[in-house]
Amino acid sequence: MSENVALSRRKMIKGAGALALGAAAGLAPISKATAARGKAPRWAFIVDLRRCTGCRTCTVACKAEMNTPLGAFRAAVYDQVVGTFPKTEKHFLPRLCNHCEGNKEDGIPPCIKDCPEYPKDRRQFITPEGKKIRYRGGATYKRPDGMVLYENELCTGCGKCIKACPYGARSWDKLLISGKDSTKNGIAKCTFCQHRVDNGVVPSCVNMCPQKARIFGDLNDPNSQVSKLVKEFGLLENRDKNTLLPKENTVPMLFYIDPRGALMKMANARKKFEKEEAWVDQIT
């Protein structure tokens, strides 16, 4: 258990090959700066709401990548019409797991905190230049690079993490049997496409988004696009305005560039970003 364990049923990275064709899909190889310091990358995900057109390529890309069954969405887009005619507006909000940092005190996101199968084993994260960082594993756990992951083989299917996530980012995978209790289902959530990222390509939804509205990268690399955008839009300073449910104090690593105040307008117009049965991406 010393490697950066892949969780996907399909261990093969389906997108990595694109590199061979001269792809644009490549993630900058984990930056030299980060490597020199021997730190793990600090993955961040930015959704640029100026660009998102609500086209749902991300939703479908994710379904295809993960073969997510009907009824469950690891990535979804919310639509909301606000305002009165003729000054009507429509906003789109792509959603995925925030890969929360967890609060200042313990640095563990609530979903992991409530998992009875965490912490279990001890693992190592190997940084790009070979430095080993130790961390605790379990049925769901956070890697030193910030990815919040799960491992069906260790999962008892109790569903506590689903309940604990204030956002509803986790759901049942009704076609997956939990690794430890064959009477229960397993769970599904966004993995930041760890199987791809570990092989140097960006998550599938990022690669597929026609509008480049999804940006993924390493905050420890000052030259990464995420670092630049975080700086340009003050995303870290304004976390309260640029992430969802700041009051929950989960400290999301998913940021929204939102000059039109869509988050606020959508919330005012009844869109809840809180837990629901399961996310459903539906156009009405």
Binding site: R9, N67, P69, D173, L175, L176, I177
Partner: protein, 221 residues
């Protein structure tokens, strides 16, 4: 193993192969005139009725051409579509809980193909169907059991047991996991007795087969 037992196993392998062959041809395509002739043979019918299988009387009264056409329509309705039908492919029917069910050319299709090819067989280039069609899986077993018979005949006990091991693996990993459910659906949906009864026979035979290969478990260690 005594010689009588070996001889007996050789005979059993032969008969199993025959039955697999027959069933494969039942599902492979619409009933041909030749097959119909042979099925109507009193000897065959006798065996069927000993097993409790009944082909209705109109099966024998209808003019052959009409019967063939009825059977073709039934075959299309049951196994081909368009529209609703019982797909005769493992990948569509199997239920493994891995989220891969219900697909044409699913992951189990690839598994079946790899399995079959790993035994040295290959798919005919003229064969246009999918690798996990029920008729292919049955034909594969026909070939395996035939090879087993040959091994017994050549007194190659290791080879024969190798075959048996492969048979058991294929039955356990594939046939038993979907063929009985598939047959139940066919039995439920069939309108003509022919496919209803053949499906019942197939189901019983596969279940028999599982026990049969189980019985040899000791030898197969």
């Amino acid at each position: 193993m005594g010689n009588t037992e070996k001889a007996q196993r050789m005979a059993v392998a032969r008969q199993r192969s025959n039955i697999y062959g027959l069933l494969a041809s039942v599902y492979r395509q619409e009933v041909t005139a030749d097959l119909l002739h042979q099925v109507k043979d009193p000897q065959f019918l006798g065996v069927l009725s000993d097993l409790g299988l009944q082909l209705a009387s109109d099966f024998f009264q209808k003019p052959e051409e009409e019967l063939l056409s009825d059977l073709a329509v039934e075959y299309a309705r049951l196994f081909l579509g368009p529209g609703k039908h019982v797909s005769p492919h493992e990948s569509v029917q199997h239920q493994k809980g891995d989220g891969q069910g219900g697909l044409l050319w699913g992951e189990s299709t690839a598994e079946v193909k790899r399995f079959i090819e790993s035994t040295g067989l290959s798919y005919n280039s003229e064969y246009t169907g999918l690798p996990d069609h029920i008729s292919v899986e049955l034909e594969f077993m026909q070939q395996l059991t035939l090879r087993e018979e040959q091994a017994w005949r050549e007194e190659d006990e290791d080879g024969a047991l190798d075959c048996l091991r492969t048979e058991r693996k294929f039955i356990e990993e594939h046939l038993i996991r979907w063929v009985p459910f598939f047959c139940d659906k066919v039995t439920r949906e069939a309108e003509l007795p022919f496919y209803r009864e053949m499906a019942a026979l197939t189901k019983n035979f596969i279940e028999f087969e599982r026990e049969e290969v189980e019985g040899y478990a000791g030898d197969l260690k």
